[in-house]
Symmetry: C3
Subunit: 255 residues, 3 copies
C-alpha cells in the first residue's frame, strides 16, 4: 500500500479472498462473544470453530488458518487452552491475534496478556483503556507505533478512529458507527474478522487494517437501517454478508 | 412514592440516571443468558461484565455498582464465583440481586438459593414456580410480603402481573407482553436490568419496581412490531434503548 | 406413513402436539449453540433447559421429555454430564438424540461419538462430513440405511437434501435455504427441534423426518424476507413460531 487511500480497494480484495478461500478461524473467546463472533465470521465467509477442550483443541488449531485468543471470561480452562493453542499455532505457522478484553479491569489479566505478547502474535487488537493497561502509555498514534516495535507485532488500537501500525507503517481509519459500542462483544467479533483477514493475507498490517475497515463500513451500512442496538447487531451481519467492492471504495475512509 | 401511579415517572427518572451514570453491573449468570443480558444492559445504558474466574472476579466486583447472581446452569465454577463475589459485594457495599432461575427444577439448587438468602441480597427476582420452591407458600401478594419480611429483602414476583414488595410496601405492575415468555432468558436479562436500577437508586424497592416497569413497557413497545419471538427479542433491545419518559408515563400501569 | 407425500401433514400434526404438550427438552449442547437452541425450542412450543452441572443434571433429565446430546465444545464437564444424563434417560425412558458436531475435526471426538452409539440413542443427526467420520462410508442413502441398522437408531443425514432412515424406511426431504449454512449452530438447534418432536412422537423415524421438514420449511419462509444471515436467524424463529399446517402442506417436499 503506497498511500492510505488505497486501503479500501485492498480491503475489498482481502474480503474477496476470505469469501473465496473460506479460511478456518479457531477462536478461544469469551462465553458472551462466542455466538456473535461465529455469526460474524460466517457472514464474512470464514468458518469458525470454538472448542476449548485440552484434548481436542490441538487438532482444531493444526488445521486452522488463523487463531484468535480473546481474554474475556478468562478462567482456568481458557488459560490451559490458550497455552496449547498458541504452541500449536507456532508449530504449524498459523497466525494468531490477541484481544486482551478488559485487561484494564484486572491486574491479573493484564499481566497474563503481557506474558502472551512474548509468544509471537501476528497482532493485538485493543481499545484505549486496554492499550493503556498493556503499553503503559497514552493511546496515541506515536505510542502505538512504539508499542508495536516493542512487541514486534501489529497493533490495532480501536475507537472513534482506529490506528493500525506495525511500528514502521501507520494508517488511521475513520469508519464506524456509535451503535457499535452498544452491542456486546462487537470488538471481540471484530478481532475474529481481523484474524480471518490474517488467514488469507500474509502482511498482518494490511490484514488488520482491512479487517477493521470492513467492520467499520459494515457498521455504517447497518446504522442506516437500525432502530437501536438490537436491530443494529442483526444488520451488521447482513451488511458484512452483502458488502461489495463498490461500497468499500465509496465509504472507506483511511488516512 | 406516595401512590402507585407515581411509579412511571419514578421509573423514567431511574432509567435516566442509568443512562447518565452508566453503572457497571457484574453478572454471574448462566451460559444461555450471557449475551442477551449484556445486550439488554447496554441498551439500557449500563456497562456489563461477566467473568466468573476465581482469580479475577474480586477485582470486577470491587469496582462494580451492582452484582447479579443468577443460578442458571449452576456448576462448580459458578458456585465458587458466587461465594467470592457476594463476599466482595458485602465488603464494598455493592447491592446484589438474586435470580434463582429454575430453583423449582432441582432440590439442590433450591437449597443453595435458600442458603444465599442469608447473605443480605438487596432483592430477589423470581417467577411463581421459583417463589413456591423458595418460600414454600403460594405465589400471592400477601405471601410475597411475608417472604420479603422473612428474608429482609425486596421480592419481585414476576408473571402476567408483577408484584414488588419489601414487606411493608407493595406495588403491582401490569405491563408486559406474551412473547416475553417465548424468548429465552428474558427474565434473567430483566433481573440484570433491575440490578442496573439498584446501582443508581438506593431504595431497592423502587429500583426493582422501576426495572420491572421499564422491562414490561419495553416488551409492549416491542410487541407492536414483532412478527414472532425472533424479531421480538431484537425489538425489545431497540425499545429499551429508545424508551422515553413520555412512553413510560403513557404506558406504565402500576396499582 | 404409507407414502412420502404424507410427511407434511404428519409433520404438521407432530408440530401441533409440540405446541400443545410443551415438552421439556434438556440440552447438553455447546456454548455457541445454547442461546439460539433455546430460542428455537421456545419458538416451536417446547421448553428448554441447559444445565450441565453433575449435581443437578439428573433431576432435569428425569423430568424431561427428551434429551439432546451435542458434542460441540466437548470439555470434561460436558463428558461427565453426558454420562450421567444418558444413564438417567435410559432409566426413565426419555428418548435421546446424538448430534456429533464436528466429529470429523477431532479423532478423539469421533471415537467418543462412536462409543455413545452403543448407549441406545433414538437417533443421530449429522452432516455429510460427520457421517463419514462415524460411519466410515460415503454419505449416501444406502450407506445411511446400513449405518442405521448397524447402530439400531434413526439416522438423519442433513445437507441440501436430508435423508432420514431407520434402516428399513427411508425418506428424503428437499426443503431448506442456503442461508441456513451461514448461521452458526443452525444444525445444532435443528437437532433440538428433532428432539422436541421425539418427545411427542414415539416413532423416532417419523419424529426425525417431521423435525427436519419443519426446520427446512421454516428456513424457506425465513429466506423470503431475510436480507442476510443476521435477519435470517431472526426470521427463522419467527417462521417456526408462525408455521401452520397449510404452509407445511404447501411447501413440504418429501420423496
Amino acid at each position: 500500500m503506497r498511500a492510505p487511500d488505497e486501503l479500501p480497494a485492498i480491503a475489498a480484495d482481502i474480503l474477496g479472498r476470505v469469501r473465496e478461500e473460506r479460511p478456518r478461524v479457531h477462536c478461544i473467546t469469551n462465553t458472551v462473544a462466542q455466538n456473535f463472533t461465529a455469526n460474524m465470521l460466517l457472514s464474512a465467509g470464514a468458518v469458525p470453530s470454538m472448542t476449548l477442550a485440552a484434548e481436542e483443541i490441538g487438532a482444531f488449531v493444526e488445521e486452522a488458518d488463523a487463531l484468535l485468543v480473546n481474554l474475556g471470561t478468562l478462567d482456568a480452562p481458557r488459560r490451559a487452552a490458550i497455552d496449547v493453542a498458541i504452541a500449536k499455532a507456532i508449530e504449524y505457522g498459523v497466525p494468531w491475534l490477541l484481544d486482551p478484553t478488559f485487561a484494564d479491569r484486572s491486574e491479573a489479566r493484564a499481566a497474563y496478556a503481557v506474558s502472551l505478547l512474548t509468544r509471537a502474535p501476528a497482532g493485538v487488537r485493543l481499545n484505549a483503556q486496554e492499550f493503556s493497561a498493556l503499553a503503559e502509555s497514552e493511546p496515541e498514534p506515536a505510542e502505538a507505533a512504539d508499542f508495536a516495535r516493542d512487541i514486534a507485532a501489529v497493533v490495532g488500537l480501536t475507537g472513534a478512529t482506529d490506528i493500525v501500525t506495525d511500528g514502521m507503517r501507520l494508517v488511521s481509519i475513520g469508519n464506524g458507527h456509535p451503535l457499535m459500542a452498544k452491542v456486546t462483544t462487537m470488538g471481540c467479533a471484530g478481532s475474529a474478522l481481523v484474524a480471518a483477514c490474517m488467514a488469507v493475507e500474509d502482511d498482518a498490517w494490511l490484514a488488520m487494517a482491512a479487517g477493521l475497515l470492513v467492520l467499520g463500513v459494515g457498521g455504517e451500512v447497518a446504522g442506516e437501517t437500525a432502530r437501536g442496538p438490537g436491530s443494529f447487531a442483526v444488520a451488521i451481519l447482513d451488511a458484512l454478508y452483502g458488502l461489495d467492492s463498490d461500497a468499500l471504495r465509496a465509504r472507506g475512509r483511511a488516512g
